[in-house]
């Protein structure tokens, strides 16, 4: 190392990994655009499957706690995800569950409405584009002349990262807003006082309504629920008051209310606010309160217009919720 | 079909004695207190209820009043002013008047004028019969004495005439009494639409009549045995005397003075003592009014006691005067004796208090007929 380098502040070692994810989170890191240079200036990416060709064994070779910051995105779906999660936990000082999937299970988490077998059935047999009369399903080991081919074990449940390893921080979002990432990153780099372990960072404590520009009033009584395409949104009044379920009030701010800005109700990717234990339950409770009927029949009728409560209220959070999955 | 209630009946019943049956609120204490009240024949409460509701037929067809010997326990324990004991007494009076077809009984019970009036009338007739009737018929009495120094009583009261009269009286009275008892039987047993009693039962149960008449075991069940004894003593005395006088008059009314141990005199003395003792107890009781049973006295109660006492005393006097040869005294008292005795028998036995000597034992008899009654093929109309 050269002498002028030594008096420079040592650069952080950064790892980014995708578990069961769409890749959007990794892209969100790139979406920092020119800010990416600042990141790279402050940190060396030592492991980042979509960006660098670094093998698992290299990571295994790294000394423990040698990585300063790991952004783990994607849920834990199979033994590989689990293995890497545990590996990175060993090697990393600050492990961050990055994005809704790692945080609460995210969209893949919806698989928890069914089990492994149903998933395979659908994926390898039923899908319209599939022709698999012999009903061949993936196996973890398959012998060939060269030896045995190995595939990671496919778990029955989708799990949020914290159910597999101990997580330091959470950055919610599907994907997280790049601005938020920068904020967090600079905070870490600047060596500022970090919030207590386990907190959600890169998001607000208050929920979305706080930033939402739509006009809100106290009369939130609903006679019928609508799905966004069912009504002509007036683009001004609170979605709820129009009968459209908007997860805004039960979802952390931080995204900049983008969806609502785009005249589509919040879908809750930023997860529950600090006051709420279960992401969907609070919203259900609130929505229930708004139903404008007293006798059971009417109530049922109104509720009929909520087609799929579970999917609606737990779109991003089923594995992280109290029940976690459909009962089997 | 259901029975109609008769509020107005109370006004009639009122005339037969004291007692405020509305005061009864049906706690049942009286019935349970009563040693004589037994399954199937419960009283006083049930009877009070009939009176309260004016259920005439039900009252007329009930034997229970006769099964009550008025020990007074019910009245002394009654939490209200109902006075069940006296109510039963009133019921007995009422029933006597119901059994009597002549309707005289009702008159005697409900009007003192009638009762006393008729007694006096008969008394007068008797006196007339002796003072005018006999002489007119050519009978003249003598004042000379028998060899034993006794009064020649038969010269004054010719035995065959008196005997004939006795028989006549006995037949009239007996006839009335029997007809009443038949009415009683009709109301209690016959009229009962839904039950009938076989002839065999009538025969088999007959002994009860005799037994109860002679021993009065029911009375014995009452708590205080003294009353039973005094009553029985009196009753037996009376009966003996009655039989002797009516049936064996010639043997009884003799001029010959028999030795004291002779059956004739012995029986006489027994009866006398029996009567006296019984009367003493009753009269003192009614005067002291300490005991509940004696607390309330209807005119009829007093009249009867007085007359019987007079009869007994005059009887005794006649006896004494005759033995010690005092003709006039004997004759005078003989008249008085008859003047009291005859109305007493004629009025009291068939129409008034004394009739109970017949009704009571028959009631017991009927009671047992009832218990052995078998249902007829008619629906029973009662919710129990």
């Amino acid at each position: 190392m050269s002498s002028e380098q030594t008096n420079l502040k040592p650069k952080l070692k950064l790892a980014v990994y995708w578990g069961s994810a769409c890749g959007g989170c990794c892209v969100s890191v790139l979406d920092t655009h020119e800010k990416l240079l600042d990141i790279v200036a402050a940190a060396d990416p030592v492991f980042w499957p979509i960006a660098l060709d670094i093998k698992y064994k290299d990571v295994e070779a790294m000394p423990d706690q040698s990585i300063d910051l790991t952004l783990f995105n994607g849920a834990v779906r199979n033994s590989e995800n689990q293995h890497i999660a545990q590996l990175l936990r060993k090697k990393t000082k600050i492990l961050v569950a990055y994005g809704s999937c790692a945080y609460m299970g995210g969209i893949p988490g919806l698989a928890n409405f069914s089990g492994k077998s149903e998933v395979f059935e659908r994926a390898y047999v039923e899908t319209e584009s599939t022709k698999n009369p012999e009903r061949i399903f993936p196996v973890t080991e398959y012998p060939v002349e060269e030896g045995t081919l190995k595939l990671p074990k496919f778990f029955n449940d989708v799990l949020p990262l914290n159910k597999v390893v101990d997580v330091d921080y959470y950055i919610p979002g599907c994907p997280p807003q790049s601005e938020r990432l920068i904020e967090v990153f600079t905070a870490i780099v600047s060596g500022a006082q970090l919030p207590p372990k386990g907190s959600v960072v890169g998001a607000n404590d208050k929920t979305n309504c706080d930033e939402c520009k739509r006009t809100k009033s106290e009369n939130k009584t609903i006679d019928r629920f609508y799905r966004p395409w069912e009504i002509q949104d007036d683009k001004e009044t609170c979605f709820l008051e129009q009968g459209v379920i908007c997860m805004g009030p039960a979802t952390r701010g931080g995204c900049g209310v983008r969806c609502v800005e785009g005249n589509s109700p919040c879908r809750g990717c930023y997860g529950p606010p600090p006051g709420a234990t279960d992401p969907g339950a609070k919203m259900m409770s609130a929505i229930g309160t708004m139903i404008n009927a007293d006798n059971p029949e009417e109530i049922d009728k109104i509720i009929e217009s909520i087609v799929d409560p579970a999917g609606l209220f737990y779109r991003f959070s089923l594995p992280g919720s109290i029940l976690g999955r459909k009962v089997q | 079909m259901s029975v109609r209630v008769h509020p107005e009946l109370r006004n009639q019943l009122m005339q037969f004695g004291i007692g405020d049956w509305n005061a009864c609120y049906h706690c049942g204490t009286c019935t349970a207190m009563c040693p004589l009240s037994e399954e199937g024949f419960l009283f006083p409460r049930k009877k009070i209820r009939l009176m309260q509701m004016g259920l005439k037929n039900e009252i007329e067809s009930s034997v229970e009043p006769w099964l009550c010997y008025y020990c007074g326990d019910c009245t002394s324990t009654c939490p209200r002013d109902a006075n069940p004991g006296e109510l039963m007494m009133s019921l007995r009076r009422y029933l006597t008047s119901i059994y009597d077809w002549t309707g005289l009984s009702k008159k005697f019970y409900t009007s003192e004028v009638w009762e006393i009036g008729s007694i006096l009338l008969i008394a007068v007739l008797v006196v007339i019969a002796f003072l005018i009737g006999l002489p007119a018929m050519g009978y003249s009495f003598t004042t000379e004495l028998t060899s034993q120094g006794g009064v020649k009583i038969n010269s004054f009261a010719p035995i065959h005439i008196i005997e004939a009269f006795d028989w006549a009286m006995a037949i009239v009275v007996g006839g009335l009494l029997i007809s009443n008892i038949l009415r009683m039987y009709y109301k209690i047993i016959w009229k009962h639409g839904h039950t009938k009693v076989t002839f065999w039962v009538h025969v088999r149960e007959f002994w009860r009549l005799v037994f109860n008449f002679s021993v009065q075991p029911k009375f014995g069940k009452c708590d205080d045995k003294r009353y039973w004894f005094s009553h029985w003593f009196l009753m037996s005395g009376y009966t003996i005397m009655f039989i002797v006088v009516v049936v064996f008059l010639p043997w009884f009314q003799t001029e010959k003075i028999l030795p004291p141990w002779h059956l004739q005199r012995a029986l006489g003395y027994y009866a006398t003592f029996g009567l006296l003792f019984g009367l003493l107890v009753a009269i003192t009781g009614r005067m002291r009014r300490k005991d509940v049973k004696f607390y309330f006295s209807h005119v009829s109660d007093w009249l009867f006691l007085v007359m019987l006492t007079l009869t007994v005393i005059t009887g005794i006097l006649i006896h004494i005067f005759r033995i010690y040869g005092m003709p006039y005294a004997t004759y005078i008292f003989y008249i008085i004796h008859m003047a009291v005795l005859v109305p007493m028998i004629l009025i009291e036995v068939p129409f008034s208090k004394w009739s109970h000597l017949a009704y009571r034992p028959f009631a017991v008899y009927f009671q047992h007929l009832k218990t052995h009654a078998v249902p007829r093929k008619t629906k029973i109309n009662s919710i129990n």
Partner: protein, 144 residues
């Protein structure tokens, strides 16, 4: 060990809880499977609590409030009813059998009814067997 269903019950303080107390003071006996949690009003009951109870292994959850119109806080029980209905739709989706989650109205004077309710629910749960909510959460491969 034989299956002893466990019921977590949320009772409002004014009617249901008083009713349950009345069952006690009247010594009306009922199945010991119930665990009562007192809240001031059924309107306070949140889906979160109910889901939590299932997650913790409750075989059944019972919610009791005042009869409609009798709410001590005027209309808390209606709010409870609405939330409950919605929650029910969700729990059914999540594969929790209908009978495991019940909402009943118990007035302060209905000690007897409360006892009967508990017995009845216990009976149904016995016939249904244990709830699988907890077991489906136990993920086999975590301790690898």
């Amino acid at each position: 060990m034989d299956f002893r269903p466990k019921i977590v019950a949320f009772l409002c303080n004014w009617c249901a809880y008083t009713g349950a107390d009345l069952a006690g003071t009247s010594r009306i006996h009922y199945a010991p499977n119930i665990r009562i949690i007192r809240i001031m009003c059924s309107g306070r009951i949140e889906p979160t609590f109910i889901l939590k109870a299932f997650q913790q292994g409750a075989d059944g959850v019972l919610v009791c409030g005042c009869h409609p119109g009798d709410c001590h806080y005027q209309e808390g029980n209606y709010k409870c009813l609405r939330r409950f209905k919605l929650l029910q739709k969700f729990t059914r989706q999540m594969g929790i059998e209908k009978d495991r989650l019940r909402l009943e109205w118990i007035s302060a004077s209905e000690g007897k009814q409360f006892a009967e309710l508990v017995n009845d629910m216990t009976k149904t749960l016995l016939s249904m067997g244990p709830s699988k909510v907890k077991s489906s959460l136990e993920v086999e491969h975590l301790n690898v």
